[in-house]
């Protein structure tokens, strides 16, 4: 079956869960990854059970955050 993953066609031998797909795509630190399938956000609790199906359009990206944090502000 074929899916789109971050804009690229990916051929899979069988349906994979979201978690398996992320591993297949060599995505590390999956706890910090946000996933959309067909423009719908995937709940993190469903990563291990939700199957990616033929023709799905999957997008994933890393959470982006950070900040100066109070403790470090006091060091200025």
């Amino acid at each position: 079956m074929k899916i789109q993953a971050n804009g690229k066609e990916v051929v899979l031998e069988k349906e994979l869960t979201v978690k398996e797909l992320l591993s297949f795509q060599k995505v590390e630190m999956q706890d910090y990854v946000t996933v959309q399938i067909n423009d719908e956000f995937v709940n993190r609790d469903d990563f291990e059970t939700l199957l990616v199906k033929d023709g799905d359009v999957v997008e994933f990206l890393y959470f982006m955050g950070g900040g100066c944090m109070a403790a470090e502000r006091r060091l200025v």
Binding site: M29, L61, M64, G65, G66, G67, C68, E72, R73, V76
Partner: protein, 138 residues
């Protein structure tokens, strides 16, 4: 080295002043030629934390920006955020959440409003490398 236009520079400053005292954030889309990174578009994103000490980019806006970059043939070069009350250097939190060793992490310090500082960094684990930042006219 990363290159931004004077307008992009002004837009980032404006966005960061507008979100003050909270941190601002956004993404940088562009191209890489001969190891020089040229910013083609700055995406001003919402800081979901609404905090002066932390930022989390709105994931829906992130996806939108990434899709726009892809449709234009650009790469995600990195991101920016402001430090409203601290210097332009990556915090421990910034280092912890810097997942891409190839990305440019731009930080705007509003600590001294008479001398606003923008610097760009590459972060590889605990190591921080300041990246040369050049502004050019449009």
């Amino acid at each position: 080295m990363i290159v931004i236009t004077e307008k992009q520079y002004r837009d980032i400053l404006e966005h960061s002043k507008k979100t003050y005292p909270n941190e601002s954030c956004g993404l940088l889309g562009g191209i890489i030629e001969n190891e020089t990174r040229y910013v083609k578009k700055v995406y001003m994103l919402t800081n979901m934390d609404n905090s002066p000490e932390h930022f989390s980019m709105d994931p829906g806006e992130q996806f939108g920006a990434v899709k726009d970059m892809r449709s234009n043939g650009w790469l995600m070069l990195g991101n920016f955020h402001s430090h409203p009350e601290s210097p332009a250097r990556p915090s421990e939190e910034d280092k912890r959440l810097a997942f891409d060793p190839n990305a440019s992490y731009m930080i705007i310090s509003l600590l001294d409003e008479e001398n606003i500082v923008i610097k760009s960094f590459n972060i590889k684990g605990d190591q921080i490398f300041e990246e040369k930042l050049i502004t050019v006219s449009e």
